[in-house]
């Protein structure tokens, strides 16, 4: 598969890893946050951490839209779907995310709510056209990648005069979240989370470009390397970060130059700007309220805004108190720090959203990496015996 296989060459990865080991300073600990779940997934799926020297540590960021969706908004979506007149269209990823009191879209569907899994906003439009008597709501979530498709669907709905189509908008903005992390007490003051550099988003950056990161690199003096989601992309980005640190640089570099332009995709940006505007503030699970952290439909498209159309109130989020998702999303904890990980909480019986999405830190570690603890336990046992 062109542009895939060549970036999955394990031997090259090992060679780069060796190079990283050679270049890291033994006295320095390198902490890099991969913002994106796509990178988290690649790191776990390909076991990249095994290749890295001990003093290079990856911190999983909040870059998974499923994981950062506050429970209150999921609860609101479930309540919306339960209305008899409503058909809720959603990407499959959200079906199993636990809401309050053990609810989920999957269970609501089983109990009778009309919930349809779609692959694309085009499918939701098609449903609205085919079933004019239903109120078809698209449960829009995602970063800058999924927002332009939502905008295009809205444009098409307006052109086709589809009065029964609306959008429950949960699109969030990456740069605002990175800003919040860097400015957070844990990172900025307390130092409980050390972040020496960022691996910047791959596909988000195809839309927004690399320019939005310049400000952070500058203001917070942290290097940022935008990288593709294939394992070689990630490991090369780590090498690039190590080199910037070693050289005392903190600029934005673009490893994913084959798809990302500095200015991003202007056409997509224009589509988004036409229909959406920034919210003053929006709750990200784990990060709390993020200023300018999300989008909403512009006033003139209120008719298509499910929040207004159905007078949705977002219940206060009642996070499961035993679930450490919040801390994990901030990089304060790792999945294995959670008492529920692998016992009460598994992908079959997820207690938190990080265990659902395959980009969630908990799910990625469970699905691909959990043998490592046991392998380590074994080594420890052996050395003790």
């Amino acid at each position: 598969m062109k542009y895939i296989d060549e970036y999955r060459d394990g031997r090259l990865a090992k060679d780069i890893a060796r190079q990283i080991s050679e270049e890291v300073r033994p006295d320095v600990n390198y902490h890099f946050m991969e913002f994106c779940g796509g990178h988290t997934h690649a790191i776990s799926r390909y076991g990249l951490e095994d290749l890295l020297p001990d003093n290079v540590r990856m911190i999983h960021g909040p870059g998974c839209p499923v994981c950062v969706l506050p429970i209150g908004r999921l609860d609101a979506a479930i309540a919306l779907a339960q209305r008899p007149e409503v058909t809720l269209c959603t990407y499959g990823d959200l079906m199993r995310v636990p809401g309050s009191n053990g609810s989920s879209l999957l269970k609501a569907k089983a109990a009778g709510a009309d919930i349809r899994m779609v692959y694309s906003t085009l499918d939701a439009l098609r449903i609205a056209e085919a079933e004019p008597h239903r109120e078809v709501v698209f449960f829009a979530i995602g970063f800058e990648t999924t927002t332009p498709p939502t905008a295009l669907a809205l444009r098409a709905a307006i052109e086709k005069g589809l009065e029964n189509f609306s959008i429950y908008c949960n699109h969030v903005l990456t740069p605002a979240a990175i800003q919040t992390i860097l400015a957070s007490p844990e990172v900025a003051k307390l130092g409980t989370v050390k972040v020496d550099g960022f691996i910047g988003p791959a596909h988000v950056s195809t839309v927004i470009g690399t320019e939005p990161y310049d400000e952070f690199a500058e203001n917070f003096r942290k290097p940022v390397v935008v990288a593709g989601f294939e394992p070689l992309d990630v490991i090369q980005a780590i090498l690039m970060l190590v080199r910037q640190i070693n050289e005392g640089r903190y600029v934005v570099e673009n490893q994913y130059i084959r798809a990302v332009k500095p200015g991003g995709n202007r056409k997509a940006q224009a589509e988004v700007a036409e229909f959406f505007e920034q919210r003053e503030s929006f709750e990200w699970r784990g990060l709390g309220d993020v200023p300018q952290g999300a989008l909403r439909l512009r006033e003139e498209y209120s008719h298509y805004d499910a929040e207004k159309r159905f007078g949705l109130v977002t219940p206060a989020s009642k996070d499961n108190p035993a679930c450490d998702c919040g801390a994990i999303l901030r990089g304060v904890k790792r999945p294995t720090d959670c008492k529920l990980f692998g016992t009460a909480c598994t992908p079959d019986t997820p207690m938190g959203s990080c265990m659902v999405s395959s980009e969630g830190a908990c799910a990625a570690h469970w699905t691909y990496g959990r043998f490592r603890e046991h392998a380590k336990t074994k080594e420890i046992e052996r050395s003790v015996a």
């Binding site: 999957l106 269970k107 569907k109 089983a110 109990a111 692998g342 016992t343 079959d348 019986t349 046992e381």
Partner: protein
């Protein structure tokens, strides 16, 4: 060496409020748990617990029979049983009607998303009890879940195998002029019990479905009747009217039956008046019709009357020569009439 094995906590199925969802059919752990917690618990045997895709058993050399039926009854629960008891009894009976001894059953479940786990457990428990009572274990099974609106609660297909006693070889074309027709008990109970709970028809009656496994009855009959029993049939869909017409055409004979001799509960007769139905067209699930050579009829009937499931057995008529294969009945009014297959679905008549 003492490696700590951390295993996922097995969360119990919520048998009170839970519902079947699509993950219960996807081949993962959720499905495994559904099967274990509900079906293995209810059917309770080592074949299933072994968790193979098939189950093994030992047979002597000889002739076997195999049968299958799908169960789609609505409503799923009705006075005297539910779809689970039907799925066990019905398939045991189709084995038994050949004169064979039923040995094992398989069960394939097709479940609609959203089906209450409590109802599924109740159905499975009923099946388990029916299979244990009959001594015919369910040794292998399958579970599929389909989206809401793509099934009707739950469908069950069971298959059954059994062994034939040496020399027994009943066939649907074996009825001959002069043979006797015996029915094992009152007709129409099952159909009326089910219809009494059907939406829009609801009526109250004490009638229970006659759903029962008839293999001990057939064994008793075969023991005295042997090869003099030409054939046996359980008059399910279409009632004894359909069964007699099928046999008539398969054997190229006619029947003369006597309405007054056919066991019929007054409530069933009354319910049929309400619905404009003929009890001869109404389904049974614990009755059989046997065609028996005249010389053995008395002995077979006596054996049936001595069996708990044949206490109301009756000789209701005879096989006659008839190139038209008519099933004719002398009515209690005194006239003659034809007893025909029902055309179309069994629906309450207005006319």
């Amino acid at each position: 060496m003492n490696i700590a094995v951390v295993k996922p906590t097995r969360r119990k199925l919520d048998l009170r409020n839970g519902r079947v969802d699509l993950s219960h059919g996807a081949g993962g752990r959720a499905m495994g748990q559904l099967i274990e917690d509900i079906f293995h618990t209810a059917f309770d045997n080592d074949w299933l617990r072994a968790g193979n895709d098939q189950s093994a058993f030992t047979v002597p050399a000889g002739r076997m029979v195999m049968t299958t039926d799908g169960y789609v009854v609505s409503p799923l629960f009705f006075p005297g049983g539910n779809i689970g008891s039907l799925a066990v009894h019905g398939t045991i009976n189709d084995v038994a009607m050949s004169g064979a001894k039923p040995l094992y059953l398989s069960a394939s479940f097709i479940i609609e998303e959203g089906f209450p786990l409590a109802d599924l457990a109740k159905i499975a428990d009923t099946m388990g009890a029916a299979s244990r009572e009959a001594g015919v274990p369910i040794i292998t099974g399958d579970t599929k879940v389909v989206e809401r609106g793509k099934a009707d609660g739950v469908f069950i297909s069971t298959a059954g195998v059994g062994i034939l006693p040496e020399g027994i070889d009943m066939r649907s074309n074996a009825a001959r002029s002069g043979d006797c027709v015996i029915v094992s008990g009152s007709i129409g109970d099952h159909g009326v019990a089910v219809m009494s709970k059907r939406e829009n028809l609801e009526f109250d009656t004490d009638i229970l479905s006659d759903s029962a496994a008839l293999h001990t009855l057939t064994a008793a009959m075969v023991a005295v009747g042997g090869t003099s029993i030409r054939l046996m049939r359980d008059p399910t869909r279409g009632g004894i009217a359909a069964t007699l017409n099928e046999i008539a055409h398969q054997s190229s004979v006619g029947f003369r039956i006597d309405e007054e001799k056919i066991p019929l509960k007054p409530e069933v007769a009354a319910a049929c008046e309400f619905l404009g139905l003929d009890p001869l067209n109404v389904a049974n699930e614990g009755k059989l019709v046997a065609v028996v050579a005249p010389e053995a009829a008395d002995a077979v009937l006596a054996a049936m009357l001595a069996h708990p499931l044949g206490q109301e057995a009756a000789l209701i008529g005879h096989v006659v020569e008839d190139p038209h294969c008519f099933v004719q009945m002398e009515t209690s009014f005194g006239g003659g009439r034809i007893v025909d297959w029902l055309s179309g679905e069994q629906l309450p008549r207005i006319c």
